[in-house]
Symmetry: C2
Subunit: 583 residues, 2 copies
């Protein structure tokens, strides 16, 4: 059987930065060539970054992408890699589409090309377009209608893009119909908790359906609300895993494959209306060589480390891609801001992390001490600015009471953080967690201030688990655990009035989070949640809080999407909706 | 030819409020029956409100909608209206759809039913689903695959929902194939500037394609970011306008029609794969009667009045549907906050409008005077709270300079407004206009504070036009023009440093708005904009401002969508995008 050395480049890309993404593709192609690769692949839309969102509707950007693709083909040949076919995702437009009401203007496509000998040898577009969860691809793209097959060194290689594998039908059965010897799918599949397991089973199943070895190449890094976790996978036609790349690490998986020799490829339309487009790049199999490279099998991270890594990668990408080197965090001494600070130190280095303690007259001594202790342990830059003078100035003019007085303190801190941010150039991080945001237990323009909310998709109970894991991991490495024990063990409090604790207003967090997961993430109703074992009155109370908190949530800054269904695009209730789960 | 008296109820609905929407449908059916109507129609999704967004994915809400529909059928019969077929939009689910990856969970449908004799006589779902602009219907709905035809008093009436008319193919040609005598389309079509003209031409064209009289029933009111402008239209088979309802007014259009007698309706599948579903409700034509009601032809509003009315309707709906009776506005003496105040007074009454002047040491005397004069002219509730004590407290602690000092003043005002809002219960209105938001000329958490931005989709040049129109309209009615002349004529300024004016940082507004319209609303590139006659350097400067302002814009509160393409769902650049139109 013919042999092929395949290089899967699991790399990051920045939306819109065509120059940097092109340079990165050249650099990793060079690395792949040095490893002796015969076929090189890059992730979905690697040239433009993913997701491009409304940029897809801007003709000048579509043209810039097409121009950059042709330039890239030329550059690869100029640098001596013209003989190696390189699969590259990019943004294209469908030249044959007629303008049609309801179709994206300009007929943009989520496309990929095979570059070879300085030319664009073949292009195709994603066939199945996802339009759920974080995806809106029906807004932006026209689907592709071909099954692309390139013959490389006597092996027929079928190509697909991401959702083409997730949905039934289409390119996977068409790959079998075409008799391809290898299926390469390029992806930009955003991280969700436990998605790695789902993805593995999916690729195993699809390989068996396609009837050939299947390579699933993932993206890594972060783009705005999305994190890409890597974890590229190669499985054989029997569904057995051949190689698996690390999670959350950029790199190149190179492996030698022995694949069926190309036979007669059918012409015309196969499954799901797909027309086979077959291009022969090199018909002759390679002379037999000793297979040396296996691609390896990276160890899986455990659950806490996986989520923590996603948060670090997401924050690092967000700061870097926004052009910020340093971050600013309000440190209350509580666990949320402490975990955010630990994540920031891991993402950017403690010298790039600035913490401010902003005590009021209601702040306890232990809060101030815990904030200082966090700074001492991590080495982040620390200062204290009391809010009492500002508080007194407002109270003198307005005479506030109750909730207005509580929120004022939070907003004075938000204004303080933004003032320091504007003066010194750090980006502000918001410390809100998913539990408190879900029920509206936060202050708009107060603790919600920040360009990025690293833990906005993490429930409070998971915050505790992550903090404990991070401290344990430090201890195991012989380092100082970053988060003060007292921040983990003391009862959570907003400290906006005397002796306030979260449980004055909310159920215990394990109960709250259990109910929220069923209501928010799984769309279950009151009856089903009560049947799952929660107290009826508590369920009613929590659901009312969620139903009335939507307004605040809308105002919340973007952040890392972690949960199966976060508060991002997955939850867009009409703001003024009057429907309540409970009458 | 058989006769039919048709009642088109152009009414408002609130998302989620099934009880109130049901009550409203009963009330307007009563009114229609009193007018002698033989067929009664209500807008798209009137029972649930529109758009329901993620509520479509919540099974308990879908069931609540279905239950409410059956209850409504029973109630209408109980009240004696069982013999009148009533067309009602609601949320349903497709009972025959198999669960499928990539399809909305639970297979929800944007549906409508014909209620008759206490039963649901027929249901169908929207065939063409819009997924552009403000629409995301591929996320939420499974399309319908029938052409519904009900025979009413010997006339075959084909039915459609909104987008079914906008896109080519589908129910319009199918109506002709079915030989229907009347096409009724129910809609929730959001307002855009000049959309009324487009809509009129569309309905005229479709009526000719359908080959029969076509009734286009519109919604009126506001839901979150959307405004519905009414303007229902009836045209005959030749495309001539028979009746036209008022813009921005709730009401019932009743008219007598003479329509072709029903013939043989074909069976099976017609155009675009649609299966004809034909239900005979009453075969016998009415005894001939004297046609009395023509439906009328409402006068069109001129351009300025139309936009101003949309802003008033949108704000009124937003406040009411959020449960707020009063609004709070920071009054700078400038034109933006003055126009917002005038709109608020028209929407809610001056006694429900609270204005605060918050001068700093940089505020000019004329600013303070103009704010007070606005209050005097409109009769809104007015107070003055200087921000100097708060400003001094922050400056004493932080020693800010430059932009940080400018932004601080704006944020102190935002905090002030939120404190008063929390203390007294008014909803805060943000005064930002589309020009300044497009280029990032505003302060995050400062002047951007507010739950609703009434003029966020209105360019600055249009602000001037609206202010002048409002004053002129007052004068023509013999009332006091609400907006002080000086607010209109003085050079716009943020007054955050001595002698600051907007043109220090921005081109003149007519130039700025001209460039923005081409770049933002029409997706044109630098070359095309320059070719349209704008100075190359100014184009470059404006495009750079827009490209780097996306981050701020993301944080902006929801508001009325006015422009052809606002900053809402129409413009979602990735936040960290590095692409610049100019290199």
């Amino acid at each position: 059987m013919p042999q092929l050395r395949l290089a899967l480049n699991q790399i990051d890309a920045t939306v819109g930065d065509l120059a940097a993404n092109s340079a990165s593709i050249v650099q990793w192609t060079r690395h792949s060539a040095e490893q002796g690769a015969h076929l090189v692949a890059f992730p979905e839309m690697v040239l433009t970054g993913y997701p491009v969102e409304d940029l897809a509707l801007r003709p000048s950007f579509v043209e810039a992408s097409r121009t950059a693709l042709r330039a890239l083909a030329g550059q690869l040949a100029d640098e001596g890699y013209g003989e190696i076919p390189v699969i590259v995702g990019y943004l294209d437009r469908c030249e044959t589409a007629q303008p049609k009401y309801g179709q994206p203007a300009g007929a943009p496509q989520n496309a990929a090309a095979v570059l070879h000998r300085g030319e664009v040898a073949l292009t195709f577009a994603k066939h199945h377009l996802p339009n759920y969860g974080v995806f809106d691809e029906f807004r932006y793209f026209v689907p592709g209608d071909t099954l692309p097959v390139v013959r490389v060194r006597g092996v027929d290689v079928a190509l697909a893009i991401c959702e083409d594998l997730w949905q039934d039908g289409g390119r996977v059965p068409a790959t079998r119909s075409a008799g391809a010897g290898l299926l390469v799918s390029i992806n930009a599949s955003p991280y969700e908790q436990n998605k790695d397991d789902t993805r593995l089973e999916l690729v195993r199943k699809r390989a068996q359906e396609a009837g050939c070895t299947t390579a699933y190449l993932a993206m890594i890094g972060g783009q705005d609300e999305l994190v890409f976790d890597g974890d590229s996978i190669v499985v054989d036609a029997a569904g057995e895993v051949v190689a698996r790349a690390p999670q959350f690490a950029e790199g190149c998986v190179v492996l030698d494959l022995e694949l069926p020799a190309a036979g007669a490829v059918p012409e015309g339309v196969v499954d799901d209306g797909l027309r086979i487009e077959h291009v022969v790049l090199s018909d002759e199999p390679l002379p037999p060589y000793e297979a040396e490279l296996t691609g390896g099998y990276a160890e899986r991270l455990d659950d806490a480390e996986e989520v923590y890594s996603a948060l670090v990668v997401g924050l690092r990408a967000y700061a870097a891609k926004n052009g910020f080197r340093s971050v600013l965090i309000g440190l209350s001494g509580g666990i949320d801001s402490a975990l955010v600070a630990a994540i920031a130190c891991d993402a950017l280095g403690a010298q790039q992390v600035y913490g401010v303690s902003m005590p009021s007259k209601y702040s306890s001594d232990h809060s101030k001490d815990d904030a200082a202790e966090l700074a001492r342990r991590t080495g982040l830059n620390f200062r204290t600015v009391p809010i009492e003078p500002m508080f007194d100035a407002y109270m003198g003019s307005l005479g506030l009471t109750g909730l207005a007085e509580e929120n004022l303190q939070s907003r004075l801190r938000g204004t303080m953080l933004m003032a320091i941010s504007n003066q010194e150039g750090h980006i502000v991080l918001a410390p809100g967690n998913k539990s408190e945001l879900a029920v509206g237990y936060s202050t708009l323009y107060g603790d919600s201030v920040g360009a990025y909310g690293p833990i906005k998709d993490v429930y409070k109970t998971a915050i505790f688990r992550l903090a404990e894991w991070r401290n344990r991991a430090a201890a195991e490495r012989g380092q100082v655990p970053p988060i003060p024990e007292n921040s983990i063990t003391k009862p959570p409090s907003a400290e906006l009035r005397p002796d306030q604790v979260d449980t004055d207003s909310l159920p215990d967090y394990p109960v709250l989070d259990g109910i929220l997961e069923l209501y928010v993430d799984r769309d279950q109703g009151a009856r089903a949640i009560t049947a799952a074992g929660f107290d009826e009155e508590t369920v009613a109370r929590v659901l009312r809080l969620v139903d009335t908190a939507e307004y605040k949530r809308r105002q919340y800054p973007p952040g890392t999407k972690i949960s199966a269904k976060g508060f991002g695009k997955d939850r867009r209730l009409p703001i003024t909706n009057r429907w309540r789960e409970l009458g």
